[in-house]
Subunit: 338 residues, 2 copies
Amino acid sequence: MRIALDAMGSDTCPVPDVAGAVIAAREYGDTIILVGDETRVRAELGKHDTAGLSIEVVHAPDAVTMEDKPSTVGKLKPESSMHVGMNLVRDGGADAFVTAGNTGAALSIATLFTLRRIRGVKRPALSTVITLNGRSIICADVGANADCKPDWMLQFAIMARAYARFAFSIDNPRVALLSNGEEEGKGTDLIRESARLLEAADLNFIGNVEPKDLFKGGVDVVVADGFVGNILIKTMEASTSTLIQVIRGELTADLPSKLGALLARPAFRRVRKAIDPFETGGAPLLGVDGVVIIGHGRSNANAIKNAIRQARTAVQGNLIAAIREGVSSTAEPASEQA
Amino acid sequence: MRIALDAMGSDTCPVPDVAGAVIAAREYGDTIILVGDETRVRAELGKHDTAGLSIEVVHAPDAVTMEDKPSTVGKLKPESSMHVGMNLVRDGGADAFVTAGNTGAALSIATLFTLRRIRGVKRPALSTVITLNGRSIICADVGANADCKPDWMLQFAIMARAYARFAFSIDNPRVALLSNGEEEGKGTDLIRESARLLEAADLNFIGNVEPKDLFKGGVDVVVADGFVGNILIKTMEASTSTLIQVIRGELTADLPSKLGALLARPAFRRVRKAIDPFETGGAPLLGVDGVVIIGHGRSNANAIKNAIRQARTAVQGNLIAAIREGVSSTAEPASEQA
């Protein structure tokens, strides 16, 4: 398999990006194509032992930054590493593209400039894997689309289900809609109309769930509009990291606590790992015509390696074909004239 | 001060409700009026030492349960403890009403049957106090209104600001709008239009904030539509309680961890207290014409006592007059004919 990696993606690029590529090339035996400023990438690569590994470098003279505006960067930087990497996928030079860069820019470049949408997809969605308490859930959309329509929500469900099938190795993922309660009158108009569509579709739709239901098991895919999905994942991240900060503060406040923390260090390490978003690495942009995995900007080498693993899984699971097939079932019926 | 308490409010009523009333009567010296099934309430009260305390009982033959539908309970149970308690406030027999019961029912009974809206208020809002990392923020709406309009959001800001002024003893609370980022193109249509209104209003509006900004300090009031606000607080609650569960699991997994946890027990107790929603006790229903404090259904006696403290603060701070004055500034200008 050939996986293109944005060497200019992460906040501290190209250091973790190149390091992650080296680990992935060794661990998976795939060809990793580093896309970015060739001089910088080769210099960074020179710091690693790459004997026997299949690593290529493709030059891209420009790079997208976190400051670039998603709406204009596609036009302003046509030779960015994102453009070049996604074009590799489009033209068959790579099976997937992985980036830890600007998510909005990746979405816009993929959708409007290089890969474009899979036929029938109304709006591509950002997905993410939520992991807490040892259970993983795929959530979409987590930020691509703010004001959504019910038929987009249906497609988010179908696309995320396609991903969940092979990411979790389950035949019939349980799909839920994020809402503020089961009770009568709860939810927005969008939620009520989306629930009707999901109910009528060929999906294992288990109904509306509240945030607390996500951590109890029983849900594989949770659908939200991009605004609410984004608030969900950012609130989870902020709450858990703030709580850990509070705990750390208290555990260093006096000697017995410090000693206790020392004894319990392996336990805390396991906790950290259990909730570490970097263990997942990234998640696909659903609905664009090629596998694109978006990782966290703060990715370290391990996170990059894991994002590459997500890309392999998506290619092996034939994500694009599965989405194409799924969304074709939501297409408006052809004209009655036959 | 005379505070009416729904004795039939909490999930395990009337036990914590009555116990909380006794503590509050002793601690604050106020008159607490227990509203509920007189026989049950007096029996429960008999288990406490109430010598010298000013506690009254007002009979209400019916009680709202968590299963009652907010849309119909007002009509179906006109003699519930919520009706009777709110009518006491309306008719001057009490200065405030506190309940740990069904929030939707309280909202509907207050708005449609007893206290009604303060003149000029478009939609009452549920508020809550978010506390994590030692910082408190008032959030509104957290569940009363799902599909909101920008002018309602402006009023939520004004009403929550009125509450924040005396709850936090600050003159000019910093008001923010919950969104998914500062970047261009972020937010929904509702957020963009609400931001324009908040910007133009006589408010200390500091702009849009993401969930992570809420825990950094710098924000006193955060405004959201009731759907998003509800997702926010429920995600916070679910994330932190799940994380604590994960930590507890790991801390009992082996002997050194168990020992460490034992040594650090006082530290963990401080953490629990810092994030305990019961320390706040409750928050007002903003916009109804009388002080109504809603507590958590799972309230213990301490939470009930703290909810009563919130009621005192709201009465002392003259919440209703402050909201009346605030919303009058948002009223459409009188006809040009003068």
